[in-house]
């Protein structure tokens, strides 16, 4: 399987989806029981890592490892955005995916949720300007990796991750307010 990940094939993402689904389901259930989400998400990162260890340690170079994390993060992103879309559709009677601005604002005022659909689009836009920043957001926000883990996953320094993360957050925040 890892060979495929390192081969960078599109289907690797699909292969990973069921695994990620089930893990997310467990996490979400814990989240609903008010456990600290941060903790559970670290578990995910651990799982990915352990899984890597399990496969064939000797032959895993950092590129394929990076690739694995990237793919996992993309998978999570895709699933979470899909859930958000499905939830929207339910609310909107299956018509339009996008909320009208006013409604989005009202919702935001209540409990400041993040509009994952809009974020997803903004993140695509960010990726065209700065691929690395977008990857950092995927790893940090969508798969819950810490700064250190993100740095390791992307094979860049922790400081770079911290810089990318804070700028990407601001950029995305502004983009969503537009």
């Amino acid at each position: 399987m890892l060979r495929e990940w390192s081969g960078g094939k599109a289907e690797a993402l699909d292969n990973l989806l069921p695994l990620v689904y089930d893990e997310l389901h467990r996490q979400a259930a814990r989240f609903m029981r008010k456990e600290r989400a941060g903790h559970t998400l670290q578990t995910t990162a651990l799982i990915n890592e352990a899984y890597l260890k399990l496969i064939d340690q000797r032959n895993v170079n950092w590129e394929s490892r990076t690739h694995f994390f990237a793919i996992a993060a993309q998978a999570m992103r895709r699933i979470l955005v899909d859930y958000a879309k499905a939830a929207h559709r339910k609310k909107r009677g299956g018509d339009d995916i996008k909320l009208p601005l006013e409604e989005a604002m009202t919702v935001a005022a209540e409990e400041t949720p993040v509009d994952l659909i809009a974020l997803d689009e903004a993140l695509n836009k960010l990726a065209t300007r700065d691929e690395q920043q977008a990857r950092v957001v995927e790893l940090r926000y969508f798969s819950g990796l810490s700064l250190e883990e993100t740095a390791e996953a992307l094979h860049i320094s922790r400081a770079t991750v911290a810089n990318d993360w804070s700028m990407a957050k601001v950029w995305l925040y502004r983009e969503l307010r537009k």
């Binding site: 069921p18 609903m32 989400a37 899984y51 559709r89 926000y141 804070s166 957050k169 995305l172 925040y173």
Partner: protein
Amino acid sequence: MASYQWQKVKNLFNAALERPRDERLRFLDENWDGDEAVRREVESLLANSEDAAVFLEQPAVGEVAEAIAGNNEKLRVHQNVSHYKILQLLGAGGMGEVYLAEDTKLERKVALKILPAAFAQDAERMRRFVQEAKAVSALNHPNILTIYETGETDNTNYIASEYVEGETLGERLRGEPMNLKAALDVSAQVASALQAAHGTGIVHRDIKPDNVMIRPDGFVKLLDFGIAKLTEKKTELIDAEAATAIKAAGTIPGMIIGTANYMSPEQASGKAVDERSDVFSFGLVLYEMLTGKKAFEGASAMETIGLILHKEPIPLNRHKPDVPPEIERIVNKTLKKDCEERYQTAKDLLIDLKDARQELEFQNKLERSNSASFSEPDATQIINHAETKAAHTTSSAEYIVTEIKSNKLGFIALSVLLLAAIGFGLWFFSNRNSTNANQIKSLAILPLKSLDASENYLGLGIADSVIRRVSQTGEVTVRPTSAVRRYLNEETDALTAAQQLNADAVLEGSVQRGGDRLRVSVNLLRTRDGKSLWSDKFDMPMTDIFVIQDTVAQQVASRLQLQLDPSQQARLTKRYTSNPVAYEFYVKGVYSFDQRVSATKSQVEATIDFFKQAVEADPNFALAHAQLAYAYALKAVFVEPTEPVWAERAKEEINRAEMLDPQLAETHLARSMLLFSASEGYQGEAAVREVLLAQQLNPNVGYGELGYLYIHLGLEDLAARELQRASEIDPTSEYVKQMTLTMYDMGGKYDEYAAHREFYHDDYMEAWYFMSKGRLDEAQKAIEEWSAKSPNKMDLPSKKALLFALKGDFRAAEAMIPVVLSRHPVKDPLYHHAAYDIACIYALEGKSVEAVKWLREANATGFQPYPLFTRDAYLNRVRQTPEFVQFMNEMKLQYENYEREFK
């Protein structure tokens, strides 16, 4: 914003952010290079930086946790989903929520499984969801949950199934062991369910206590084939669009799904899984039933996986010293890391479980009737003696012996037990041996001889329907109608026919029509000794012909002692029409129909005509629609490939047949044929999947078709395997012989080709063979002989052209190319062979660009044997050119995809 500007923004923003808020603007002033756009952007970002501080700091999962967790019970209770009224949430898991609901139409309680809404956007999940429903409902096994319906409403996908009251095995266990008898009862029922599922190619993949439901009366139901997808390569195809989607997504090797605790090592390491993976998971469940402990339990899922992969579980008897060794042996055998060492089938496992259960009952009786005691040394002596004697009875005897040791039973009882043990062993083995020797594994059902010459088709019709019924059970290999058809007009005695067909048993008979009455007599013979296993006579009104067919099929099954489960039983007596007129036309259609390799245009047309009349007489006659679809497909692909109307007709009939009865193998075979044709763009993978589906419905069909497809995809091993199987099913098949030759031809395996050709036909060799050997004069001679004998032979021009090229006369060779192409329009099924020959001609000439162009053309039209491309000497001259190398790289990827999907 240009990327250099973006870089400047990044640098400035990050540097400014490190400074206290009130110093940032000054810092900007000092370090800004005058680029207005950069300045504006940095200021704008800085202005938002405070507000954005907490933004995205909580992970995304929280935003949709509620939706993911499926915690929307309140939303659903009392709601209606289609015509189901939700009553109560029964459970929720990664694959969806299950509700108790009321079917308001049929007024019964059902279990309604709702798929998470997000899954609907995931085509792969959806596909699997539909597959689950189809596959499971086809089983109809008493220990498998019955599916009533699947559907979609308001973006919600659901499965309605039988509602089982009771508790799950997980709830029953709660960390406590069950008693031995109860554990064996439950496990035998689960194994029986698995045996049935495996028989149709379905692997459960998620055997765990939570998926085993125990009813209050002790009846067990295996639930949730939610992640059971048809075994890897048997991926379902829904339509051309989905096929493309699947193609785009590539193959999906064994992905990690399921609960970690009950994974098999192959599952845990992401490898492809088969039936034996279920055997392992089953073993883990049995272990837990016996001990109350999970065999593998780590602190985390990953640790558990590590244990599954590398550690042995704590021996059963350490948890439970009184567990019989036989049971321990069974559990150990299910839990072998190497699937080759496990029980290979659930059937074998079930046999051992049942034996163990029987033995336990037997022993309990004995123990109850015993109270005497005896001195230990004597007992040991006898035990030793007995052990040598009963060594071959394996652990059954050991088990009893151990019991004796621990219980210090009396001498008399001991002797009784030892005798019983030895006797059991003997019975056990003789029984097994005798079943092996007498077992009838293959059967030929000959056309019933008509005693009045004009009614020939009736005898074939009865044979055909009995063949269909018995072969669909999958319990015995039945020679297909095409193999026995020739005996209709031959005066061959039944046993000789059986030997020719290499069948263990043969059914012969006669049919006579007198007015509107029908007299049928049948006789089932064992080939080995000619013994009659059953014979019978029927005298019934013509309208009861279906009753006769049912009876004959059932009798044959029972005389051959086929163990049929309810779904096989249902297939055995399935009726496709009750309209005698429609049936008569149908049988005439079957009669006029021959194997596709030798079918002539007029045969195909006559066949179409009969089946058309059959469906006109009974528009709901699904089987006739399916056969008509097949005949149309044949016409579309092989008879008139340039006429698009036939493919359209075939599709119409496929749809109609499928709508009326989704369980017909013929429909899938027809679709497969269409898919691998010019009109559908030679969708090889999709075509293979269709045949695999057909085989699930009727395990006796499709091997020749698979061989044909695998040959074209270059999957040589698989092609050889399938053709081998095809020739076992029908040793007389010309089609299979033809395909075997084609396999060697398209593999560039000249010597094997020659050997088989001689073996099959005993005639002169093809020019192609001589050319491959460089014997050009003989090739020339062979071509001349052909030209004289059959100047219209399709591939004559291309072989002539190839010969010119081999002789170095490239001008003459190239001049032949237009002739070759005029023989084979693009839609012709042989076009890709012509294209390949043309490629070879150019390659011999050293014209690499043209050669690759034609190779691509051949590949695009279904000629994709990568191994041939790698070894064909005709291509050697251009092998090093960049375009050829590029082409081969692409072919290699394509080939590896095929391998991954189907191997």
